[in-house]
């Protein structure tokens, strides 16, 4: 019987290697898999390329991973946030690279990566600094830039509930980038609040089918960035 659950977050992230590309779900704190990120900090992999819409806040979660010096490059759309100081400081001092991608292009590049589409055209960024140097092509009288599919070695994501096959549902706007990231990584690791038995999730309402999920960790009471930041927590 298929059962993708692993013992804990440490086991789930054990094989993430130096230099890996890691997609991390979440938009701000909604959907951020903090416990998996903290396990990755403990694990020690460095030189990572991380894909996330933001760069975390305070000194927990993604911001803590960056602060620990493990991230060589961020691919994201909005590397500033409330309480976001770690990335800006390291970026200004040249300790971390940034590939800035418009949010919709980032989402579509990840979807394309997961869908076997190597490249597509989009009107977004034409005529702007982010469109500079990109291949332009005209369709039906309008200009578009060529953008490439994006894949990753690992995806760290957070769900509301999963079954042993890896079918996942999400909580409200915590869904954000997660379902497309799950499709674009060689190994997708999900932390979920609840594990349910096979057959308990409505097949009409499953957002991420199990085929995209490789490891499941139950984190019954996940932390929230804003709560940790308010408490002044700094990880580790």
């Amino acid at each position: 019987m298929i059962n993708k659950q692993v013992a804990d977050a440490a086991e789930a992230v054990a094989d993430i290697f130096d230099g890996a590309t890691v997609m991390i779900g979440g938009f701000g704190e909604a959907g951020s898999p903090i416990e998996l990120i903290h396990a990755l900090i403990d694990q020690g992999a460095a030189g990572l390329t991380v894909v996330n819409n933001n760069t975390g806040s305070g000194e927990v979660g993604l911001a803590a991973l960056i602060k620990a010096g493990r991230v060589a490059k961020m691919i994201c759309s909005y590397p500033r946030s409330l309480n976001s100081t770690v990335f800006p400081e390291m970026y200004r001092s040249g300790q971390i690279q940034l590939e800035l991608v418009p949010q919709g292009t980032l989402a579509e590049r990840i979807r394309a990566g997961g869908a076997g589409i190597p490249a597509f055209y989009t009107p977004t960024s034409v005529g702007t600094p982010l469109g500079e140097g990109k291949e332009l092509r005209r369709f039906d009288g309008r200009d578009y830039v060529l953008e490439y599919g994006l894949t990753a070695d690992f995806a760290l994501i957070k769900g509301l509930a999963a079954d042993p096959l890896g079918n996942v549902i999400y909580n409200k706007t915590a869904r954000n980038f997660t379902p497309v990231m799950a499709t674009a990584a060689t190994t997708t690791i999900v932390q979920v609040t609840s594990l349910v038995a096979k057959g308990e999730l409505d097949p009409e309402s499953i957002i991420t089918p199990g085929i995209f999920v490789h490891r499941i960790v139950r984190v019954g009471e996940p932390a929230y960035e804003s709560v940790l930041v308010a408490k002044g927590v700094s990880y580790p």
Binding site: P79, Y91, P102, V126, G127, T173, P179
Partner: protein, 228 residues
């Protein structure tokens, strides 16, 4: 700018109210952060607008009561919101398919500069020390059917934000349809900035002097209506 001029023209709330008047019933609308967010407060009775937030929700409602929010139910500005009856959640690629595919009727955005060709700069001042951050702005201006800008007519330092050519890094080329400022409503037309309406007590010359490109006058005198 002296303290007297700061009393001329609309307040932020009045600007939002003015925009709200122009949004038809049943529109699907995305509101940028800042003044655009105020629009929801002034939708005339009897009209139903449906708000999209690009992080994955259609049918966004107001902020929750204190302590009743969910940290995972937020808007694009990362503030807690609610979901109205009839709302739907979707992932980011679907959300931007909605935007890029031209399904939203209207986006109301703030701006640093708007050119007479309808170019907009609203994501970066290009300052060497700035952390570049664009979010969904470029997708919104490229995809949504109509783009309205709501902005102070001039910067804090009194410089025009409506210009011949944007000097800040662009968000999009020839994408803006209309600009609502504290002083006036102005359309982007093939001939440039076309005055549509002056705010109460504001003269054409007053606006023209504060606009960084040619401003075409209103064909006939026109009074504002719809707010006090």
């Amino acid at each position: 700018m002296n303290t007297v001029t700061s009393k001329i023209g609309l307040t932020r709330e009045q600007m939002a109210q003015r925009v709200a008047l122009d949004i038809p019933d049943g529109s699907y609308v995305n509101l940028g952060i800042g003044i655009p967010e105020l629009v929801t407060r002034f939708v005339p009775e009897g009209r139903e607008l449906i708000y999209h937030t690009e992080n994955g929700l259609l049918g966004m409602g107001p902020s929750p009561e204190t302590g009743m929010g969910d940290p995972e139910l937020i808007n694009a500005g990362k503030r807690q919101v609610t979901a109205l009856p009839g709302a739907a959640y979707f992932h980011q690629a679907d959300s931007f398919a909605m935007i890029r595919g031209g399904h939203l009727d209207l986006c109301v955005l703030g701006a640093l500069q708007v050119s007479e060709k309808g170019d907009i700069a609203n994501w970066s001042t290009g300052a060497p020390d700035a952390i570049p951050a664009v979010g969904g702005a470029m997708d919104l201006v490229a995809g949504v059917k109509s783009i309205y800008v709501i902005t102070q007519h001039c910067t804090k330092h009194g410089r025009p934000k409506l210009v011949a050519e944007c000097t800040y890094p662009l968000t999009g080329l020839a994408v803006i349809d209309r600009i609502y400022t504290d002083l006036a409503v102005i359309d982007i037309t093939p001939r440039g900035f076309q005055l549509v309406e002056l705010s109460p007590g504001v003269s054409f010359d007053y606006v023209r002097e504060r606009t960084g490109a040619r401003l075409l006058p209103i064909e006939e005198d026109q009074r504002m209506a719809g707010y006090e």
